[in-house]
Amino acid sequence: MIWLLLGLHLAVIGALATGGRPLGRFALLAGALPLAVTSVWAVVHAGTTSPLVVDQLWVEGLDLGFRFRMDALAALMTLLISGIGTVVFVYAFGYFSPSAQGLQRFAATLLAFSASMLGLVWADSIWTLFIFWELTSVTSFLLVGHKHEDDSVQAAARRALMITGGGGLALLAGFLLLADNSGTVVISDLSVAGGSTGTLAAVLIMVAAATKSAQIPFHVWLPGAMAAPTPVSAYLHSATMVKAGVLLIAVTGPFFTESETWKWLGLTFGITSMLWGAVGALRHSDGKLILAWGTISQLGLLITLLSLGSAKATFAAISLLFAHALFKAALFLVIGEIDVRTGTRDITQLGGLYRTMPVTFAAAVAAGASMAGIPPLLGFAAKEAAIEAVLGLEGLELAIAATTVIGGAVLTVAYTTRFLFGVFGPGPAVDISPAKLTLAGPGWLLAAASVVGFLALGLANDIVGPAAIELDADAAVYSLLRWPGLTAGLAVSVGVVIIGLGLGARLRSFTPTTPIPRGANLADDFLDGVLEGARRVTARVQHGSLPVYVATMAATAAAASLPFLAALNADVLIAWDRPLQAFVGAAVVLTAFASARVGSRLGAAVALGAVGVGVSGLFVLHGAPDLLLTQLLVETVVVVGFVIGLGHLSSNFPPVGTTWRSIRLGVAGLGGLGVMVALAASASQPAGRPPIGEIADQAVVTGGGQNVVNVILTDIRGLDTLGEVVVIGTVALGILALTRTQRETGRNRR
């Protein structure tokens, strides 16, 4: 069934991407279909106690396969992804104007995200999880960058990709450590990791989760991602994708129950994000940013609870995860509707909407109250469970967790109040465009879900309870309560709401100067630095100048041969066989130097010829007249070639600067030195006698020739000679081709 569902998604994505254009806006409704089917399936599996496992070996020998597992927790996530996804697709249909272009593309990408997210929550092997994890990052990147004209949007999309994609690598590394430790890549079979490996894995996985769930200091991508169209923000950046990190912590938590690092790292991420995120929500006036910072804060609370590791806290975290997805998505849909209908989402400019948009106002209050943890809403029951969980702690944990969670709750109530007042509260009424059911309905629906969730709390329990038990069997004793009774927890809640309302009311008219997103700038600067570095390095290294390439290569090679200085053997080496060699050698060096120094091209060619003649002189002195002949012939031909070529060029070399000239001379000198050292080094270690005697004998006996060189060429190394012929033939054909085309080009020009 899992394959069938993924296949269905893929088919619709493919159909939309290739032939969706004529559908226009209706492509979005088509995109809702697979999700609707999936949500039905998720409802059937909700609260399941017998997980469905699909194992498909992909590549034999590489241990590469796909493994999915649909347990109660996955079912809960599936329900959120597909249920909210369906609603969001319908909402997007109302959100975009009928004339908007490229909606089929948008629908296909959004659906691709849904499929990746589903794959992520179903994944039960580290490879599967990693693949889908990265796919959600990529699709998110494409969706954020949907309004592609804007540079700042591009930067935001890039930042998100960089941070979450990097997190994916940390995830893979961490999982590989765990897999190495347990000898399996199946996540549900991984075993507890201890020692330094366990600590390292814990850090890597926690960091991966923190990047995906936008925890401080990795949170900088989330506010930027708000540049995405609101359906995307509601779906990816509040309800689903950002929950992936939380889910990861929930799933891997059991492997690190012993790890203090895991717990305290998680608490650090969670608590700082919870508090700073809430403060951030109070400092912004853009409605979407308030909600985004609120998301950071809420995710921080979830991670805090999960890091505590107690069954009660785990249960509370799962409940809150469920509640948060519902109310936060609803609030996003509401602010998106307001944005479309009023043209702004700035709370300092909005006002009076409680009169003109009463139903939406009611929906926002319901969802907001759920966020603030006020009855009769699902958020209340979940928040209550959370407060109970932290009050049940002992010692240091109690001190830290209780104060921060309660403080965070106060701030949450405060920014909720400020948000609701700012958007809907009294003030000059803004103009609004007519209502549209597809735009408003989805928000109402999700807000209603928070109410229904509380009224039918047994249903919510049936979904949340088994999911928590999946993580911690001890969670079975807990359930969401509609009325906790007159407990300490309730007293705290009442206090929280009262203080929060007061604070929110005070800050309602607080219009901050928009804070500078230092973190985001830092991330961007880093990325820009890398890109700029890449550009600079390429500009420096890959400048396209052939002489510099050659000089670099020659210098490197020469420098590489200098270590062979150590291999020189003074006992074997002699300066010369006879003094005449020294004179000829000196002449070669001098002419070589002259060829490098002389300014006229002809002069250089002549000097080069002189070098060649000098070398052939050395051959004679060594007793190799045949080599002399060959060398002289080659030199003659080359010089003739030079002269012909020089006819097309100016008589002098173009002038070069002194620095470059000295560099070139230096490289040439170094090259000469390098070759000399290497030659002397090889001469220091002769490997036996040269086979000349043998060859001479064989030449007569086998080859039937007196000229040894000829016999070598034709008999002993006949194949090589044939090869050389082919090489020369190739060169000839190449020259022919070049000149022929040249001629034809010339004719065309005329």
């Binding site: 090869g723 090489v727 081709a737 070049l738 040249q742």
Partner: protein, 530 residues
């Protein structure tokens, strides 16, 4: 009177693919010189394809012949060449690259008005050099193969005479290539000096044997190390591995696009085939000495190819950097292939062969797309020229999407399994740093491909093209003075599209079912086991 000369027996049937390429080239030149009206028809292209397919058709027969022999290899030409499973796989890859190149060239040359047989002649000659390298059991033969392979491509790079960039590319490639050949030759000389032979089997035997002077070359002489280092320079240049990659971006950008496709596939495969054979069969027992160097080259190539590519704006240049990074990945496979552990070694060689095949298919397909998008004048290679390609030509954009996904190593494409294979081999070899860096770089490198994909699918063309860029690249004066408008339709010649489709199909097929042909690769990978 001449003595009876003992000539080595030449088993012609085993050399069939090589002969078809080398003699086919000569035949094509001769035929088109005599029958001049055949020069500009499709004849040269069809002839080349026929030769390559004919050569390919003989491979199963040769495979069977090898299977008859227990040692699974046939030494021919007095031991200068070895016909074994590895040779056959390499030959199959090179011959497929020839077929692709011939198909793309045909439309390209007509479009550019450069019709003529010499392109195909040089392609076939170059391929024959590649085949020679893959089979060479003797360093001199390797060198000959390298030269034949290269010289033809130097000319091909410069053959688009209406584009100054093409000539610049050819010239640069030639000068730097000649320099690297000199290094290579010097390396051969040093190896010969140290071991007294250029035959790989004899080098291997001489390494740890005491020679006439009472020295053991592998232990007492640094000459063999210097020789290996210089050989690595020569090979590194051919396969464009860092730090010998400098020519690649410049040459890829300037050379005619179908030729670049050939360079990135056949030339690279030939280079790697020679590299593998020389270093595994010849210097296999010196793995501890050369593996660190190969590993370092791999790291450098991957890092340079991935990180420096992200700021490029020319698609051909981007693909050049990507080819550097691919070379790095293949070198990781070679690193593992040099392991003393037979299982790891076989896994490594196998991963290299898989990578080479998968890479060849995706890279020829990619450059096929680039050829078509490049348009008349072969100049539309800026990233901005790809803006909105999905709307102008959905088929091409769709094909390119798959091929780029494959190059990025996205799952369900052959590219993913290729990368996975080499990384897996490195992990088995416990080279965690290599594997780790490769993985990070693979993700960073994916950004490069994502940029192209994003431009194709998520930009609407017109308004994202800066005016200056449009003036520079999109409006190209044709020889007859006509100006092509920027919104010129991309022409889709059926043969080229079909070829790209085949490349896409293979890429996807191997992405889903990578075990197809697994036995063949396994047998070929066993060639160098001792």
């Amino acid at each position: 009177m001449l003595a009876q000369v003992a000539t080595p027996e030449v088993p012609w049937s085993l050399l069939w693919p090589f002969l078809l390429m080398a003699l086919g080239a000569v035949a094509l030149v001769t035929i088109t010189s005599l029958v001049t009206e055949l020069r500009t028809r499709q004849f040269p292209s069809l002839f080349t394809i026929a030769m390559a397919v004919g050569g390919g058709a003989s491979l199963p027969y040769i495979w069977g012949r090898i299977g008859e022999i227990p040692e699974r290899r046939i030494l021919v030409l007095d031991g200068a060449m070895s016909i074994d499973y590895f040779t056959i796989v390499a030959a199959a890859i090179i011959l497929s690259a020839v077929v692709f190149a011939a198909i793309f060239l045909d439309d390209y040359l007509r479009r550019e008005g450069l019709d003529g047989p010499e392109w195909y002649v040089l392609i076939m000659l170059s391929a024959s050099g590649g085949l020679m390298m893959a089979a060479a059991e003797d360093l001199i033969v390797t060198f000959l193969g390298l030269e034949i392979l290269s010289i033809a491509v130097y000319v091909l790079a410069a053959l688009h005479l209406r584009r100054a960039e093409s000539q610049e590319a050819g010239f640069k490639y030639f000068v730097l290539g000649a320099l690297s050949s000199a290094f290579f030759l010097y390396g051969i000389a040093l190896v010969y000096g140290a071991t007294g032979s250029t035959r790989l089997s004899e080098i291997d035997a001489a390494l740890f044997a005491t020679n006439a002077r009472g020295l053991v070359p592998a232990e007492d002489s640094s000459m063999i190390l210097a020789g290996m280092a210089l050989l690595l320079v020569g090979f590194g240049f051919k396969v464009s591995a860092a730090p010998f990659h400098l020519w690649t971006p410049d040459v890829y950008q300037g050379a005619p696009t179908p030729v670049v496709g050939f360079m990135a596939s056949a030339v690279k495969v030939g280079g790697f085939a020679g590299l593998l054979r020389v270093f595994l069969a010849g210097f296999g027992r010196l793995g501890d000495d050369w593996r660190p160097v190969v590993g370092a080259m791999a790291l450098l190539s991957i890092v340079i190819g991935s990180f420096l590519a992200i700021r490029q704006d020319n698609v051909k240049r981007m693909l050049a950097y990507s080819s550097i990074s691919h070379a790095g990945f293949i070198l990781i496979g070679l690193f593992a292939a040099g392991s003393r552990n037979a299982e790891v070694a076989q896994l490594g060689t196998r991963s290299v062969l898989f990578y080479l095949f998968a890479y060849t298919v995706m890279v020829v397909g990619s450059f096929g797309v680039v050829t078509l998008v490049g348009g008349r004048g072969d100049g539309k290679h800026d990233l901005s020229d790809y803006a909105g390609l999905a709307q102008r030509s959905p088929i091409l954009a769709g094909f390119f999407l798959v091929l780029l996904f494959a190059q990025a190593g996205i799952p369900f494409t052959s590219g993913f399994l290729a990368k996975f294979g080499v990384i897996q081999a490195a992990v088995r070899d416990e080279a965690y740093v290599l594997a780790g860096v490769a993985m990070v770089a693979a993700v960073v490198g994916a950004y490069l491909y994502l940029r192209i994909i994003k431009t194709m699918f998520f930009s609407d063309g017109a308004h994202t093209v800066p005016v200056a860029a449009a003036l520079d690249t999109n409006v190209e004066a044709t020889p007859d003075g006509a100006v092509i408008a920027p919104d010129e339709q991309i022409s889709l010649p059926p043969a080229a599209v079909a070829a790209i489709l085949v490349a896409v199909a293979i890429t996807l097929l191997w992405g889903f079912a990578p075990n197809i042909g697994g036995d063949i690769l396994r047998d070929a990978a066993a060639t160098f086991l001792r």
